[in-house]
């Protein structure tokens, strides 16, 4: 597909928002400014943005523990996300979710899940309501190569196919589940499992190219919106950082050469070069874009710092829609 220049620039903008946001978050974790840990999408920005840009504003999306990229890619404001990571009251979840459980219903983000695989049925249910309410919304479930071995994925693929639900199963194959290489725990090629559930399964080998990912996902989204049912899209990519920030393993579970080769394929650098080459934008425009996004990330941190911590009583709110149960 050929896309308008402003759309291409928006893709780069969103990839940059993810990159700068995650780089900042990583620093803050190491400085102890963010409690717990975070899982960055650094290196996987093309895979995330290629998918989210193929969705409409009001389409639904669920994700996993590698969680910042998804809502950012879907268009969420950075301030409330950063405030959430810091555990502040102005956080998108009021400080109760944290990095692994971001959700921004305003942009169709129905929630990241700290439980691997667990959000896939949720996305399936959102697709069911689109179908029953006939509102034309499409649903997309992000999950990793590791999550692809959870049984609930196959239950979801089967029921989605039978009911012809408007959903895309988006497998982020970064080739590792924590320390475990995908090929050591996965039989065959994941995208080949789709045909057994009577749906198209495509494997995007070049997950570092945002346009390639976009094309594959857009095809699946159009298909879903046209009422033709679910698709499975596997995107091969690589995470540049450790599984989670601060994690240090004695074991070199990732091949050094392979790693070096992948680090060369930075999706943001690649797309930047592509745009310059094809005259989509000049150096000045791109530098301006980068500065803008950096400023946006700075602002998000300022927003987080400004925010108060939540009141103690907030811990007892929203267990139910009415005040019920534990009070202190």
């Amino acid at each position: 597909m050929t896309l308008k220049n402003d759309m291409l620039l928006e893709m780069q903008r969103r990839m940059l928002r993810i990159r700068y946001f995650d780089e900042r978050a990583s620093k803050m974790v190491k400085r102890g400014e963010i409690p717990g840990t975070v899982h960055t999408s650094i290196g996987q920005e093309a895979q995330v943005v290629g998918a989210t840009m193929a969705l409409g504003e009001s389409d639904y999306m669920t994700g996993n523990h590698r969680s910042h990229g998804h809502p950012i890619g879907k268009g969420a404001a950075l301030g409330p996300l950063m405030a959430e990571l810091v555990g502040k009251a102005w956080g998108v979840c009021g400080g109760k979710g944290g990095s692994m459980h971001l959700a921004d219903f305003k942009v169709g983000s129905l929630g990241e899940s700290g439980i691997v695989g667990s959000s896939i049925p949720i996305a399936t249910g959102a697709a069911l309501s689109s179908k029953v309410l006939n509102n034309g919304k499409v649903s997309l479930a992000f999950f990793g190569d590791g999550a692809a071995n959870q049984g609930c994925l196959y239950e979801a693929m089967n029921i989605s196919s039978v009911w012809k639900l408007p959903i895309i199963f988006l497998c982020e194959n970064n080739q590792y589940a924590l320390s475990t290489p995908a090929h050591t725990v996965t039989a065959g090629v994941l995208s080949n499992r789709a045909s057994g559930f009577d749906m198209p399964g495509v494997r995007v080998e070049d997950g570092q190219s945002v346009l390639t990912v976009y094309d594959a996902v857009k095809t699946a989204v159009d298909r879903a919106r046209a009422g033709q049912g679910p698709s499975f899209v596997e995107v091969v990519t690589y995470r540049f950082n450790e599984h989670s920030e601060g994690l240090r393993l004695a074991v070199d579970y990732r091949d050094a050469e392979q790693k070096a080769a992948w680090l060369q394929r930075d999706p943001i650098k690649l797309f930047r070069a592509h745009m310059l080459e094809h005259g989509v934008a000049d150096e000045a425009t791109l530098a301006g874009l980068e500065a803008e996004v950096m400023a946006e990330v700075d602002a998000s941190v300022a927003f987080a710092n400004e925010s108060p911590f939540p009141e103690l009583s907030v811990a007892f709110k929203d267990i139910y829609t009415e005040p019920l149960g534990a009070k202190q």
Binding site: P121, G125, I319, G325
Partner: protein, 335 residues
């Protein structure tokens, strides 16, 4: 008013809700064929199953045998505009979807800071006492009481089944309905019109002065029999049916025990960490000084359910075991 069975009352509440709100849908295994009899128009079953005929295939959905995605999909649908009722047939199958229940259904609203509500009802039948053995006879509501976020109803009469279920379907929080197959055939006069019974309000089944008897689900019928026997012996028993366990009307229990000073709890669930344990703990930490005797639990012991009727019958609280426990505490004077 009309004579309605417990099973019929469940069907009637669902019918009311389906008629009242097009966002209500029903999904589950074999719901189209109305295999368990709760998807009925009330008349005789039609050749395609009543609800399917009445509401169509978009709102009455047979699912694959995939409890995990069934529960999660209902949750996802509930967060995005539908109000699903999920028929999970037997309570012992709930474990298949435990992650979705605990990590998604119960936690989402909280984790996301109130961004979502979760209007969904999960129905299941506790098929105990009918020789179906360990894979069909569990009464697992205490496990769900241990994790907040899901409301729990345990109706013991047709009226409560209809009124509570209607409230549940209209509610914006997730609800689990634990229905006792032993009661499916129980009949009484029930209002055919719309009515709702609030959660968290216990029903005083019978007033009394000597001993408070809290009875849950199918134990209520046994409690009534026991109370009648004991009346003849001069022991006056007050029976309280909480009707919902989350929220639990502990105040009603406290008021009664404050009056009688004695408490027996009859609960068909397993003993350890069961609903009876919680009620006992609440009472002894809250109104200890009113207690004149030990709090006794009459529950199913901590066994699995054996197949043979020769073994199973002895396990559940019945009028005799309940009466014995009451006699014990009634006789006991505080030293």
């Amino acid at each position: 008013m009309t004579i309605m069975s417990y099973l019929g009352a469940i069907g009637a509440a669902q019918r009311e809700a389906m008629d009242a709100d097009s966002r209500v849908i029903i999904m589950g295994e074999d719901v189209e064929a109305n295999v368990y009899g709760t998807m009925g128009g009330g008349k005789s079953r039609a050749d395609k199953g009543d609800f399917l005929q009445m509401y169509g295939a978009s709102r009455i959905r047979n699912t694959p045998i995939s409890e995990e995605v069934m529960v999660g999909a209902a949750a996802g649908a509930a967060m995005t505009g539908l109000r699903p009722i999920v028929d999970l047939s037997y309570s012992t199958f709930l474990y298949m979807a435990m992650d979705q229940f605990i990590n998604q259904v119960a936690k989402s609203r909280y984790m996301f800071g109130g961004q979502s509500s979760m209007p969904v009802v999960f129905r299941s039948a506790m098929f105990y006492g009918l020789s179906t053995a360990a894979h069909h006879s569990d009464r697992p509501y205490p496990m769900f009481m241990n994790m907040p976020g899901i409301k729990i109803m345990v109706p013991a009469t047709p009226t409560d089944a209809k009124g509570l279920l209607r409230t549940a379907i209209d509610m914006d929080d997730p609800v689990m309905s634990f229905e006792a197959c032993m009661l499916w055939g129980l009949k009484e006069d029930v209002d055919e019109g719309e009515f709702r019974i609030p959660f968290g309000v216990a029903r005083t089944v019978r007033e009394g002065t000597d001993v408070t008897l809290v009875a849950i689900s199918s134990a209520v019928q046994q409690a009534i029999l026991a109370a009648k026997t004991l009346e003849a012996e001069g022991i006056s028993v007050e029976i309280i049916d909480p009707r919902t366990l989350v929220p639990l009307d502990s105040e009603a229990i406290f008021r009664s025990v404050a009056k009688t000073g004695r408490l027996v709890i009859a609960d068909p669930a397993n003993k350890t960490c069961g609903a009876a344990a919680e009620i006992s703990a609440l009472v002894s930490e809250t109104i200890f000084d009113s207690l004149k005797a030990p709090i006794m639990r009459v529950t199913t012991p901590d066994t699995h359910i054996p197949f043979s009727p020769a073994l199973e019958k002895q396990l559940y609280p019945n009028a005799l075991t309940i009466a014995d426990a009451i006699r014990k505490v009634a006789g006991m004077k505080k030293q």
